[in-house]
């Protein structure tokens, strides 16, 4: 068999597997979300007999979906902004100063990624109990999310700070620019894609985060993943779970594609899906 024939055989195989792997399950999810309760979708029918947006409307009006959307989409931007503010000074130090132990500091920044999320969640909640802050749920989640995703933020921004050109800063200083003006003309243009990428990555991670939201948020705060989790467990209604799955996955896929583009412009070496 020639190399080219082998290659096209492999391509066909991978595309077929990916079809079974992705397209079929997602099509099923879309179809299940459209099943009208007037007539159930039984095993003998290829497509749902009656299709409508009833489940979508019903979920919107009669479940915690609206509340979960509001809390997820309030938590995420808050965590993203806080994460950015916390990451900027550290990234500035790591990206612009050469000091002994810099590599160790960079490694230590990755710590939140190594500790399993449920350990962080449970013992962070133990800490909140000890401090008497266990009713401070919303703030605690924002705080925990922003720190948990700092590794991404610090790494992206450090690279951005490294790309700021010293001759631009020097030129601005020679021309008498103030500290603020130097930041605006020399730093900001190089940092811009990194800042957007940071905001977006923390936003996406926070929307998707489950352990902290589940352990610390419950029972008061419902986010989309915790709602989906309960929809998969004790209150499993397939069409409702399908609606929730699509609500969780579709916007994030688009956001990730934007992120991928931003990362490419921030630093080609970092363009890697979730980072």
């Amino acid at each position: 068999m020639t190399y080219q024939r082998l290659n096209s055989l492999l391509i066909t195989m991978v595309v077929t597997v990916a079809f079974i792997w992705l397209a079929i399950p997602f099509t099923m999810a879309v179809l299940w979300s459209l099943v009208d309760p007037a007539e159930p979708w039984t095993a003998d029918k290829l497509l749902p007999p009656v299709m409508s947006f009833y489940r979508w409307v019903d979920m919107w009006e009669n479940s915690s979906l609206r509340y979960a959307l509001i809390s997820s989409y309030t938590l995420a931007p808050s965590a993203a902004l806080l994460g950015l503010c916390l990451a900027l000074p550290t990234a500035f130090a790591l990206g612009r100063f050469d000091f002994p132990g810099r590599e160790v500091a960079k490694l230590l920044c990755l710590l939140p990624l190594v500790v399993p999320p449920f350990i962080t969640a449970i013992f962070f909640s133990a800490l909140l109990f000890q401090l008497g802050l266990n009713t401070w749920r919303f703030g605690a989640i924002v705080f925990a999310h922003s720190i948990l995703f700092l590794p991404y933020a610090i790494r992206i921004l450090t690279v951005s700070f490294e790309t700021v050109r010293q001759d631009h800063i020097d030129a601005a200083r020679d021309l008498g620019a103030s500290a603020w003006a130097r930041f605006r003309v020399a730093y900001f243009p190089a940092l811009k894609p990194g800042i957007s990428a940071t905001l977006l990555i923390v936003f996406i991670q926070s929307i998707e985060e489950f352990a902290i939201a589940f352990i610390i948020g419950s029972p008061d705060i419902v986010t989309i993943p915790t709602l989906l989790y309960s929809a998969l467990g004790q209150d499993f209604v397939r069409p409702n779970a399908a609606v929730l799955s699509l609500i969780l996955v579709v916007p994030n896929v688009f956001l990730m594609l934007i992120l991928e583009r931003l990362m490419r412009s921030a630093n080609p070496a970092l363009s890697s899906g979730k980072g």
């Binding site: 991978v14 939140p112 449920f118 350990i119 489950f210 352990i215």
Partner: protein, 284 residues
């Protein structure tokens, strides 16, 4: 560097790295302290080994440890074993290779819970797989595939979610190997297997180790896949920890948590070391 040079650097590091160290440090500290009887929410806080001996004496715990290691180990090995040939195949661009790479990495964009739902949908009693197997005449009646006792469902989902991640790391590692080295080895008469063993494997080992370790830790500490599609007669360590905690038994939860961290650490080191030995073809 003088003290005056250090002050601004430390001040800059405090809000980012400082907070990370404080949060993760106190989380680990509380877990360890609670496992030894301190920071009791109810009753007395005093040093005690009782919780360790109590939890270690339970069958439930040893089963959870074995089960979590099983899931962690096989998820890491299977994901990397599947991703390696794909990464090597996609090393040199050909028409459609970028699209294929994107297609293979697509599960990275899908939330784990959504993946679990999609899987349940396909394998459910009246699901597509059951209908297909009956349609082609292999099975005469639908089978119960959900929550299978060997945790094949959990492993399948772990691989579904983690293989793309391993592919991402390995593609990077494999693509950084220059053509010159591979051409030289080909000129010297090395076949595909020898090229893999002597050139590609040793040069992509750190990417492979990183993938192994990250997937192992994630799958070892899995909660969501286990509670949605995992066997109902066994618990993963994270699940056991959460169930202790929700009963208010923080000390036992802490024992499980500390054991989980220790296994994650030791297991990662062992996996990284073993894979290095295997890929380099022996201890050198």
């Amino acid at each position: 560097m003088t003290l005056r040079d250090w002050v601004p650097i430390v001040a800059l590091l405090v809000p980012g790295l400082g907070l990370i160290l404080v949060l993760i440090g106190s989380v680990v500290y509380i877990a360890v302290a609670q496992s030894f009887g301190y920071y009791a929410l109810l009753g007395q806080s005093e040093f005690s080994l009782e919780f360790w001996s109590d939890v270690f004496g339970r069958k439930l715990f040893s089963r959870a440890v074995r089960y979590s290691i099983y899931v962690g180990f096989w998820s890491a090995v299977l994901s990397v074993a599947l991703a390696y040939p794909l990464a090597i195949w996609l090393r040199k661009p050909f028409s459609g290779s970028i699209g294929l790479g994107a297609l293979l990495k697509a599960p990275l964009l899908v939330h784990g819970l959504v993946a679990a739902f999609l899987y349940i949908n396909v394998i459910s009693y009246n699901g597509l797989l059951n209908q297909f197997m009956q349609g082609i005449g292999i099975w005469s009646e639908p089978r119960r595939l959900q929550n299978d006792s060997n945790a094949f469902g959990v492993l399948l989902l772990q691989v579904w979610k983690n293989m793309p991640f391993a592919l991402l790391l390995l593609t990077g590692a494999v693509q950084s190997i220059s053509d010159d080295i591979l051409d030289a080895s080909r000129d010297l008469g090395a076949g595909p297997w020898a090229r893999f063993c002597k050139i590609i494997a040793p040069l992509s080992i750190s990417g492979m180790q990183a993938a192994m370790v990250i997937i192992f830790i994630g799958a070892l500490a899995d909660f969501t896949f286990q509670t949605t599609v995992g066997p109902t007669n066994r618990q993963s360590m994270a699940q056991l920890m959460v169930s202790f905690k929700s009963r208010g038994d923080w000390h036992s939860a802490a024992v499980v948590g500390v054991s989980l961290m220790t296994i994650a650490l030791l297991g990662s080191a062992l996996l990284a070391f073993t894979s290095r030995v295997i890929m380099r073809g022996g201890l050198r």
